[in-house]
């Protein structure tokens, strides 16, 4: 059991508001970890801290990619975090809407390729090869995520479920060891959610990507996760396997409000 992400004592304040309050969390290699909690509990803020969009006020975030040394990543710029192998999706879909589906995924390859201006202008053999590799790689990812039939569509014209998938496709194009999914099932219908379940499992099993996700669809969370963290008011209020969580009265209270069974 290798821990690949360690978060210690993470605290984030906005003005007078404390969004994250001394939060601890670990992600284990090869696992699907879920973060749940009511609206406004600080889950997305947590993601933003990990991915470098916010710089936390206190605490440490340590990433240890499989086979590599452990390193502190808080304070890094978002693009460096991605380059280190942590990719993410966004809660309110942020695709490049006027680019095609394939191009969206190709952008994900940016940090794993290197040709520059001169290369592009001269278009030498290595540039052509790199470009071809990018296209093939991206197309394969589209196939894997099940949206390869939409390859030349503009991202903005995709149905909602496909847009969510494209976000995932784009993120895994950066070859992450850890993928952060921010409410991947939001707005999906039951069939799409089922397919998403399969996709996420496949990413873990076949591509060896560990997953940390924020999700509200409890059915999905319970069936997918190996480990669940429950967050409320920026604090961790519970953690454990799905089984533990279901039977934890604190969790039920946080979610449904008090005394649901009364």
């Amino acid at each position: 059991m290798n821990t690949i992400l360690e978060v210690k004592n993470l605290t984030m304040d906005f003005g007078g508001l404390r969004a994250l309050d001394h939060l601890d969390l670990n992600v284990v290699e090869g696992e699907i970890t879920a973060i749940i909690g009511p609206n406004g509990a600080g889950k997305t803020t947590f993601f933003n801290c990990i991915t470098g969009i916010y710089n936390p006020n206190e605490g440490e975030i340590l990433s240890s990619p499989p086979g590599k040394k452990r390193k502190k990543i808080n304070g890094l710029k978002p693009n460096h975090v991605t380059k280190k192998g942590i990719a993410r999706t966004f809660q309110n879909i942020r695709l490049f809407s006027n680019m095609t589906v394939l191009e969206n995924v190709m952008i994900g390859r940016h940090c794993r390729t290197s040709s520059g201006i001169i290369g592009a202008i001269l278009r030498g053999r290595s540039t052509i090869k790199e470009e071809k590799d990018v296209v093939d790689f991206s197309y394969n990812i589209l196939k894997k995520t099940g949206i390869s039939h939409l390859v030349n569509e503009f991202a903005k014209n995709l149905p909602y479920g496909a847009q969510r998938r494209l976000e995932i496709a784009r993120a895994i194009a950066t070859e992450p060891f850890l993928l952060l999914l921010d409410e991947p099932a939001a707005g999906m219908n039951p069939r799409e959610t089922r397919e998403l379940d399969e996709l996420i499992t496949r990413l873990r099993d076949e591509d060896n990507i560990s997953i940390l996700m924020i999700e509200h669809d409890m059915k999905l969370v319970m069936s997918l996760s190996d480990r669940i963290f429950v967050v409320d008011y920026g604090r961790k209020i519970a953690q454990g396997t799905p089984c533990d969580i279901i039977n934890n009265p604190i969790v039920i209270k946080a979610y449904l409000g008090e005394d649901f069974d009364a």
Partner: protein, 400 residues
């Protein structure tokens, strides 16, 4: 049937504009001789003009609204007529061949004067394509583009004046200096948001112009630099006529070179990053793209082209002074990009030809030239922000 309501609306608009333009359009004063001239005719023109235009304006707004709704609900599989011509080989090849023949024959058919105008138009095509990298592809509104143009022009003029350096040696130097200035100016400002960036670049442009105007020892001040050498060819100096033709072909060459470069860039790793950055910066960073570095590349590359054309400008006119590098010049290049279509190569070419050639040939127009530039920017943004020819995304085919 035009409804009574509509007529009433237009009538009110017309009244409003007659009121609005009354002091400026109708009265003209000469404070020195204390004469007041009343031009009531203008009021009638404004009245009728705004009455008619308000119909057009409302009609276009309605059409735009309908278009937006349609784009939201339908899959926008339709491409415009112009795009199809440009995409299909069947149309594309004869079009290119035709253009090549016209381009080659042009200076031999038409007068020197015409050739010279065409050369100017070609220069603006290159400037437009250069700015298009910055504004169209990377989405950075650069209002001080002319500063780099000035850098190129002055570097050739000064090198030529002081050291007798020739055109061909100055051309790469101008380009490099443009690039360096692009990096120097771009580095501190590219973190800024869109509208701030616009103002800062505008400020930089003005600073450079004012320095050129006031620093007599360096730039010879407002009187400028004269007798700059025309481009030669391995030491041969041409007659005026030959030089004009020579410059024309040189520009044709540069246009083709620029088109190839911009086209290749557009479909490259870097070009994609620019477009993605324009669409969503946060998502881009989450994809591992270095925001500042990528923007800087676009900015500096655009500046390089401006520097290059600057050298050619100095060589063509043989005289330069700071008055050629005002904000209006930047605005003109910007309106070329906006009219043609941001991010679209063929659009920029057509935009430049329309905006540079039309006022030359329609003499009656030429007074209104700048006025029309302004109007074009407003109208295009409101009704057709993608320009005459919108940018087409490349499509790929895969065999399963």
């Amino acid at each position: 049937m035009i409804k009574f309501q509509e007529i009433k609306k237009s009538f009110l608009v017309s009244l409003w504009f007659m009121f609005l333009t009354f002091p400026i359009m109708v009265i003209r004063v000469n404070p020195i001789e204390k004469i007041v001239e009343w031009r009531w005719k203008n009021m009638i023109i404004v009245g009728i003009g705004s009455f008619l235009l308000s119909f057009v304006w409302r009609y276009m707004l309605k059409k735009r609204e309908a278009g937006e709704k349609r784009a939201e609900t339908w899959e926008s599989g339709k491409t415009s007529f112009m795009q199809r011509i440009l995409e299909e080989r069947r149309f594309y090849i004869p079009l290119v061949t035709g253009l090549t023949i016209i381009a080659v024959a042009f200076p031999f058919i038409f007068s020197m004067y015409q050739t010279s105008i065409m050369t100017t138009a070609l220069m603006y095509i290159v400037l437009g394509l250069g700015l298009n990298i910055v504004v169209g592809l990377a989405g950075l509104l650069d209002l001080g583009y002319v500063a780099f143009y000035a850098v190129g022009a002055y570097s050739y003029a000064l090198l030529n004046h002081h050291f007798g350096l020739g055109f061909w040696s100055a051309l790469p130097i101008g380009a490099v200096l443009g690039f360096i200035f692009g990096i120097l100016l771009g580095f501190p400002v590219l973190r800024l948001r869109g509208d701030y960036l616009a103002i800062v670049t505008l400020g930089f442009g003005e600073i450079i112009r004012l320095v050129l105007k006031n620093w007599n020892e360096f730039s010879f001040g407002p009187s400028g630099i004269a007798n700059i050498d025309r481009p030669g060819f391995f030491g041969i100096q041409f007659s005026l006529q030959a030089a004009t033709i020579y410059l024309y072909f040189l520009m044709i060459g540069l246009v083709i070179f620029t088109i190839i470069v911009v086209n290749r860039l557009q479909n490259s790793r870097i070009g994609r990053a620019w477009i993605a950055l324009r669409e969503d910066e946060t998502a881009c960073q989450a994809m591992g793209i270095d925001k500042t570095r990528t923007k800087l590349r676009a900015f500096a590359l655009g500046a390089t082209w401006a520097g290059m054309v600057g050298v050619i400008f100095a060589a063509k006119t043989t005289f330069i002074n700071p008055a050629s590098f005002t904000f209006l010049e930047s605005a003109m290049i910007l309106s070329i990009v906006v009219l043609g279509g941001m991010g679209s190569i063929s659009g920029v070419i057509i935009g430049a030809l329309i905006l540079i050639l039309l006022p030359e040939y329609l003499r009656a127009f030429s007074d209104y030239r700048v006025l029309i530039f302004g109007a074009i920017m407003v109208i295009m943004m409101v009704f057709r922000p993608q320009g005459i020819i919108s940018n087409i995304r490349r499509t790929y085919k895969f065999n399963e």
